[in-house]
């Protein structure tokens, strides 16, 4: 097991390095940040000064060498626009995204597993059909539209919730609810399918024949075996959230990493782009590791 983790860490480190090299050179191909930071009528002298100030006048290979040397010392460089260390900016934003992702995925896990299991157990019933419809709607609703609709309904019409921002628990309700919908729809479907096939397997038939209670069949025998595909999909969905929920963060004014990354790309804020990519990549790597570990916990065969 330890060896597996070690191997995984090594391959992830190599991919992370590859990512840094790729993003470093690709981002520098996209254009001159001086053109975006300075006003259109800025003089050539101002542009030269800006580039000199940020080391953008050196040949690109020298820039890369400097960047990697700084990185080795744990220095991610300064933001070109904000006159602050890039890593600080990214970590501040990442904390918001992490909270959003954690809260949302915990709620999704509980709700989707519960509804999906019950639907599988009562397959063909009204509840099952309703759950399937819910899942379809959830998986296909565009979050931009849902978010605006939610603001119109709950803030403008009913006046129950603040439109956007942070500060109180009420500010979290709409963003979490909007982010909840899609993974809930997808995972509910996976839970249902996986549980159905588990329920049809010989060991469940045996358990039923022995007179084991339904509750026990669902929650003790089937759930554990049906969880592997569910965890895989949940991992994908959680990774998408960690990468930043750009639309939802933008609409609700959440200062998360998704919006930060998009802004940084549009503004050619190279150091922030790189720092944001490294931080999210690291987070996704850690999450994948946790998923592997949970596989091992659920299925003894994987442990060996």
């Amino acid at each position: 097991m330890k060896q597996q983790i070690g191997q995984r860490a090594l391959t992830s480190l190599i991919s992370l390095l590859g990512l840094v090299v790729l993003v470093f050179f690709l981002s520098r191909l996209t254009g001159d940040p001086a053109a975006l930071f300075l006003p259109v009528d800025a003089s050539e002298e101002m542009r030269q000064n800006f580039r000199a100030l940020h080391g953008l006048n050196d040949p690109i290979v020298v820039q890369f060498g400097n960047y990697m040397a700084d990185l080795a010392r744990g220095d991610f460089g300064e933001s070109l626009r904000r006159a602050r260390p890039a890593l600080d900016i990214v970590l501040e934003a990442f904390v918001w995204t992490l909270q959003l992702a954690l809260i949302t995925m915990s709620l999704v896990a509980v709700a989707a597993i519960f509804v999906g299991s019950v639907a599988a157990f009562t397959v063909g019933s009204k509840f099952d059909r309703f759950a399937s419809l819910l899942s379809l709607v959830g998986a296909s609703a565009p979050d931009f539209w849902v978010a605006i609709l939610a603001i119109v309904l709950f803030s403008l019409q009913l006046g129950w919730l603040p439109t956007s921002g942070t500060g109180t628990i009420w500010h979290w309700i709409m963003p979490v609810a909007v982010l909840f919908i899609r993974p809930f729809g997808l995972i509910l479907q996976v839970v249902r399918g996986s549980m159905l096939s588990a329920l049809g397997s010989p060991y469940v038939k045996t358990a039923r024949a022995k007179g084991v209670k339904s509750k026990s069949i669902i929650f003790v025998h089937t759930l554990r075996n049906g969880m592997l595909p569910v965890i895989t999909v949940m991992g994908d969905q959680a990774a998408a959230l960690l990468n930043g929920a750009v639309v939802v963060e933008s609409i609700f004014g959440f200062p998360g990493v998704g919006k930060l990354m998009i802004d940084a790309i549009l503004q050619r804020d190279f150091n922030v782009i790189l720092a944001a990519i490294m931080v999210t990549a690291l987070a996704i790597f850690i999450m994948n590791l946790l998923i592997d570990l949970s596989y091992a916990l659920l299925d003894p065969r994987i442990r060996k």
Partner: protein
């Protein structure tokens, strides 16, 4: 049902106690379109930074009267006079202190200017003093001489742009702006909000608003909704689509002019008939009230009508596709390659409806016999087409917006129309000479020269396809009194807000 009502009441009560988002008594909340990346006074000409910093935290020696026609008004300078052709003397206000308690004097002005010119930062304000050799001298604590070469007749106007910081301020960008203004920065929650509080020791009249919180929302419908629900008092920019409530929604000229620049050095645009035909091919009226909001004005110059030297005699080119075709045929007969394919380059998201506007224009040009195709590009790519050295290969017309709310064409004309200007497509000695003369002239002569330049560019040279002076929309809560003006695009003085 009862339960639902109970829940609603509980939520409502909780929302009312929700803290910073809900303003109380004399505090206001202002919702801006994007997060502030910097808050340095020397970047205050950037619109959202200006709305927070300019004349709330920082002050300038003079200010431009945008509500009346008072011209340049005193602020930190009480008066000024011309000592000789090249030297202005400013008499500074006594008893002014910065928010850190230090006294304001002429040395601070000298430092503020030097700071904008320093290599240790990339201050935007410096561009307004480019090409001028400026010597600032503190004669005594309250007297400042500015000696320039060449002479600067509009020095008092140029001083509306120099934000004053204490002489202790380092050359690098600061995150703690200190100014002499009526408010001071008390809180900056990065990514979320900025809070300003009123100063007790401000030299001028105390304003009604005791504190202001600025929040950032990129979605225009959310900004509009926030004023409607009472979470904010002013949303300085909402979209035309949202501006449907006459009680709260204002339209105001936002000092932007939309136009297509013609580069006369590329064929077939060297021929004046082709340039005239471009202008005649576009039905400007058709855009107003459809793609663009009512209130947009067909443009005859690259600066808005509030600018010095505005020439009221100039008229918009009438829509005349037949006439355009006839002119093209005439040019073709003389050997001009009017069939040459060219691009109309527009910037994605430049203003609401930008893509649709450029699509329609390209269609109109094609209709009139031009071989035009549309190319929408994002901001960094647009900049490559917009500024020298221009993109070579296919000829193109570039669609762009220019902002001049500063009252004088000097901030526009050199770089837009001088042969050496960074974004000029005009190469004409008469234009160069007029720009040079007008820049150096004063009073009525200056006004007349600018006026003459506008006419020359519009009637004879046909320098651009001028499109529209644009309008912006703001939503203002009924609980305060505030009227947006052309200046709201770059500054928003809290002292102008009245509480009802």
């Amino acid at each position: 049902m009862k339960r639902g009502k109970y829940l609603a009441a509980t939520l409502l009560a909780a929302a009312a106690m929700a803290g910073p988002a809900m303003a109380q008594d004399s505090e206001v909340t202002i919702v801006l379109s994007e997060e502030l990346d910097l808050i340095d006074p020397c970047m205050a000409t950037r619109s959202n930074i200006g709305r927070v910093v300019l004349q709330n935290i920082s002050e300038t020696l003079t200010e431009l009267d945008v509500r009346g026609d008072g011209g340049v008004m005193p602020r930190l300078a009480e008066s000024w006079e011309l000592v000789d052709e090249n030297t202005w003397r400013f008499m500074l206000r006594d008893g002014v202190t910065f928010s850190d308690g230090t006294a304001f004097d002429a040395g601070d002005v000298v430092h503020s200017f030097e700071r904008t010119q320093s290599d240790a930062n990339s201050c935007e304000i410096s561009r307004y003093y480019e090409g001028i050799d400026m010597q600032l001298t503190a004669v005594d604590d309250l007297t400042l001489d500015i000696r320039t070469d060449p002479a600067q007749p509009i020095m008092p106007l140029l001083m509306t742009l120099l934000t004053i910081v204490p002489s202790e301020t380092s050359m690098e960008f600061t995150r703690d702006p200190i100014g002499t203004g009526p408010y001071q920065l008390t809180e900056w929650n990065v990514g979320q909000s900025i809070r300003l509080e009123r100063r007790d020791d401000y030299w001028g009249e105390a304003s009604d608003v005791s504190a202001a919180t600025y929040v950032f929302r990129s979605e225009p419908s959310v900004r509009a909704a926030m004023v409607q629900t009472g979470e904010a008092h002013i949303a300085p920019s909402i979209s035309a689509l949202e501006a449907t409530n006459p009680a709260t929604d204002f339209s105001y000229p936002n000092s932007e002019t939309t136009y297509l620049r013609i580069d006369q050095m590329t064929a077939p645009f060297g021929d004046v008939r082709v340039r005239q035909a471009l202008n005649m091919a576009i039905d400007r009226e058709a855009f107003i009230g459809t793609i663009l909001p009512d209130g947009s004005i067909p443009a005859v110059a690259v600066v808005p009508p509030t600018t010095l030297g505005w020439n009221g005699d100039l008229t918009t080119v009438d829509y005349d596709p037949e006439g355009a075709r006839a002119l093209l045929a005439e040019a073709k007969a003389d050997g001009v390659a009017v069939d040459t394919e060219f691009m109309v380059v527009g910037r994605i998201g430049n203003f609401p409806g930008a893509t649709e506007l450029y699509e329609a224009i390209t269609a109109m040009l094609t209709e009139a016999g031009f071989n035009a195709k549309l190319q929408m590009v994002e901001v960094a790519e647009h900049e490559q087409f917009y500024s020298r050295p221009y993109v070579e290969g296919t000829p193109y017309l570039i669609g762009a917006q220019h902002d001049n709310s500063r009252g004088d064409p000097v901030f526009s004309m050199y770089f837009k129309y001088h042969s050496e200007g960074r974004q000029s497509g005009v190469y004409d000695e008469r234009v160069d000479a007029l720009i040079d003369q007008a820049t150096a002239a004063t009073g009525d002569e200056r006004e007349a020269l600018w006026s003459e330049l506008f006419a020359l560019l519009h009637d004879e040279i046909v320098s651009d396809v001028l499109l529209f002076h644009m309008v912006g929309f703001a939503r203002v809560s009924e609980s305060i009194s505030f009227t947006p003006t052309i200046a709201t695009n770059s500054s928003l003085q809290l002292s102008e807000i009245g509480l009802e």
